[in-house]
């Protein structure tokens, strides 16, 4: 399975529908401090089933919904979708009949998250297993957040060992 594109609406500072195409090789993301680059990174983690609001720099999961500005009111719904290419037909059973897989996660304020794969409602667990099967996921070693390098450097040796446990 391979990533094709990410779509965000109402997710943190990305209030309007936004689409990021994921092409082969190296794609750079640039911009001034506070413009939303890490928010974009968090959207990818979130749609893959991240359950800890703390990992998203929030106190609760509602915090990922666009909170409003002085000119625009807050929203009540946030949605992130990821389009996967499944032409190699390696997706888990139950999801493997399609050439493309669209996984979406939608949160409604105070009502929690709902997940869909190609429009069909599934549980968070199904999405987490789907991505784990594709060697990725919210806790993948390949998702390196902005504070991660610092916390590896400053970690106690016993905490660092847990890095290995995730690889085992």
């Amino acid at each position: 399975m391979q990533f094709r594109k990410i779509r965000l609406t109402g997710f943190k500072s990305f209030v309007d529908p936004t689409e990021l195409i994921i092409e082969p090789g190296l794609t750079g993301i640039v911009g001034p401090n506070g413009c939303g680059k890490s928010n974009l990174v968090e959207a990818i983690r979130w749609v893959m089933g991240e359950t800890s609001a703390k990992q998203m720099r929030g106190g609760e999961m509602n915090d990922v919904i666009f909170g409003g500005t002085s000119n625009k009111p807050a929203r009540n719904i946030a949605e992130v979708g990821v389009l996967m290419d499944n032409s190699a037909r390696r997706a888990p059973v139950g999801f493997n009949e399609h050439l493309e897989l669209e996984i979406t996660r939608r949160i409604e304020r105070d009502k929690g998250s709902a997940y869909r794969v190609n429009g069909k409602e599934v549980r968070a667990r199904d999405v987490q297993l789907l991505f784990a099967d594709a060697s990725t996921g919210a806790r993948s070693p390949g998702l390196v957040s902005q504070g991660r390098i610092g916390s590896i450097i400053n970690a106690k040796p016993s905490d660092r060992r847990m890095l290995l446990e995730e690889a085992a």
Binding site: S13, L20, V41, N71, S135, P141, G142, R161
Partner: protein, 162 residues
């Protein structure tokens, strides 16, 4: 449990030793389990000697050397089970130009070997110059982010947005 961790340790360590040399252009480093004979209780210690320098624990290296060594560890774990996507958020912040150059060479190498697609958030001009394409995130309207395509030849214009 224990065998799996030791096997994983061996695999990650081998990969780590090789990636360290690629990122530093020399030197040597290795991982060791310390503080306990039981691997499930042990701590993970990182010993490293950048080219021409004495072998030391990670804490005695410079800020940039520590970051580059941590990157070697992250990629060593990554390569034991490569993911189709790898997202790096400002990991090159403390690196100088020659280390950024080797870091980008490694990303190109991994992309070619494993087909992994990389998203690299950066403020570093040299990293930007090594990307296949660039997207800019802007906040023209305060508090609201928008994604724009950035022309690679317009890197000088990036001074205004990065």
């Amino acid at each position: 449990g224990r065998e799996r961790l030791l096997a994983s340790f061996g695999k990650v360590n081998a990969s780590f030793e090789e990636l360290f040399v690629r990122l530093f252009g020399g030197g040597r480093a290795y991982l060791e389990l310390i503080e306990s004979d039981d691997p499930l209780e042990a701590g993970l210690q990182i010993m490293a000697s950048p080219p021409g320098k004495k072998l030391q624990a990670l804490s005695l290296l410079s800020g940039g050397e520590q970051a580059l060594t941590a990157l070697a560890l992250i990629f060593a774990v990554f390569l034991t089970n490569p993911s189709p996507i790898c997202v790096l958020d400002e990991v090159d912040a403390p690196l100088d130009d020659s280390n950024v150059d080797r870091f980008c060479l490694l990303l190109e190498h991994i992309a070619k070997e494993t087909g992994t697609r990389f998203l690299v958030v950066t403020h570093h001009r040299m990293t930007m110059a090594r990307m296949d394409r660039l997207f800019g995130v802007t906040m023209a309207e305060r508090g609201i982010s928008q994604l724009v395509s950035v022309d690679l030849t317009g890197v000088e214009r990036l001074r205004a947005i990065a």
